[in-house]
Symmetry: C2
């Protein structure tokens, strides 16, 4: 058996696969309505760390899932993520002109196109998830649709975004902050792990352990995001830095202070490892991803 590639090689391979899957999934720029399709492609392709797709692949590989299925699941989740960014950057929301080092969708196109592109990206995610067979049982695949819809909706990502807006200018207590982040970022990250795993074969106990990992890694991602927003530069991030403080938002840094926020991220990383430990070497990529998420600089 060939030696497994190192983490960096692996992430490069997965990112390239997912980029191809997204290119295949998105309507070609020449198909009408052309401007909408151009905006959908602009919002999605050539950018981002692809954290959610990496998590879906890592969980799927642990579950011995076919890579062709993981392509589809990873692309679906990334479409939801891309839609949320296009909408979040709109003037009536975070009003941000820069994303992934490029002008935001509404700056490059216009607000109406950014709105519709986001709407259509969400639809496309569910279309993709119901286009081809992705799981051993059709029941399980319908459950995958349900999981993604729940994660994206008002008690998932969109709800977290609403809580975020409502909190602007207020000082949140830690439980409120955690509620917001578990929904805003955590729900979709958790779904990425669950959906990747659903493409393969795991028993209920194994799925539950992975779900615990998904919850911890999602929260860790947001704690580190708060730290980076406070400490890194716009050039490094490829999005506007220092935005949280400027907008008077409560973050893990504003509520806990940077030192305790860092310690909390480390705690969550340890929780991730604990959830994975029964899997041994099979969970290597998930472990590496938790390290990457907590130790990243962008």
């Amino acid at each position: 058996m060939a030696k497994a590639p190192d983490f960096q090689t692996w992430t490069g391979l997965v990112r390239a696969r997912v980029e191809e899957a997204l290119v295949r999934a998105l309507p070609a720029a020449g198909i009408a309505p052309e401007r909408l399709h151009a905006a959908m492609r602009y919002a999605t392709l050539e950018g981002g760390k692809r954290v959610r797709p990496l998590l879906a692949f890592a969980a799927g590989e642990l579950a011995a899932a076919a890579p062709e299925r993981l392509d589809v699941v990873a692309a679906s989740i990334e479409l939801i993520h891309a839609y949320s960014l296009a909408h979040d950057d709109l003037p009536c929301m975070d009003d941000d002109a820069l994303r992934r080092g490029k002008p935001s969708v509404h700056v490059e196109f216009d607000q109406a196109t950014a709105l519709l592109a986001g709407d259509a990206l969400q639809s496309l995610a569910f279309q993709l998830l119901s286009d081809t067979r992705l799981s051993e049982s059709v029941e399980a695949q319908l459950e995958m649709v349900n999981t993604l819809a729940h994660a994206a909706g008002s008690r998932g990502m969109a709800g977290g975004q609403a809580a975020d807006l409502a909190s602007t200018g207020k000082t949140l207590a830690l439980p409120e902050l955690e509620f917001m982040h578990i929904h805003k970022t955590g729900a979709l990250i958790r779904a990425a792990v669950a959906l990747g795993a659903s493409c393969g074969n795991l028993d209920a106990g194994e799925r539950e352990r992975l779900d615990r990992y998904g919850k911890c890694v999602g929260l860790a991602f947001q704690v580190v995001d708060d730290l980076l927003d406070a400490e890194a530069s716009t050039a490094t991030l490829g999005k506007t830095a220092g935005k949280d403080a400027k907008q008077g938002k409560s973050t893990y840094v504003s509520v806990l202070g940077a030192a305790r926020a860092k310690a909390f991220a480390e705690e969550l990383r340890a929780d991730c490892r604990a959830a994975l430990s029964p899997f041994g070497e099979r969970a290597i990529r998930l472990k590496e991803l938790a390290d990457f998420i907590v130790l990243r600089k962008f």
Copy 2:
């Protein structure tokens, strides 16, 4: 056997069922995030003609589907419709302050909340469609998810909306106008008929005939909408009248003139009847709905 209720009684019964199904499907106003859930309910409940739910029920009754399944399907489609209205009324789109005789969602709440409510309503539609068993086979249900996603997306409703925006201030030729309307309004109406039918049992030929009906009735709906926008009053419509002309939009009235637009709507009504004729009395509600759609005054 009890005599079937007349059309008006039937629409009243179906609308009441669908309202209850929507109330059940939407998160209660007391669940966090409360403002978002209030906006979702405001956008959806107590308003609208419920044309798409009526079509889903009519097609489903023809296919001998269980009403409990039709409740869910009709609610899913209406959630997609309600989301599209909340987004269409935003200032960056049609900028309309009045909808269903009430202030638009962004006027009653705010733009960010209207945006997120629309986003979350779309997610909820797919959640609902994957929550409970809706068809004899799970494969058919997954296909229903696919049909709705396609109808809502960039080559369906969202794409038609983009074409509409792109056409503002231009004079469209009839084929371009038809492309726009078939997508903007037609796709979701066609899906309503298809999804209702999928809850029951029909053979491929019957489903194809219903699909022909769905296409014609969807286009007829839009032709009449154009006529009403040009001729009815704001008070009667419950939304701003005369908007198309003011915004320099091509409509069936501006391209064909009112008389030929009316004749075209009548032609489509005849096409609807022709598609239904092999079903005989089983298609009574669909036939009545085509009449209602073409002859309505609001």
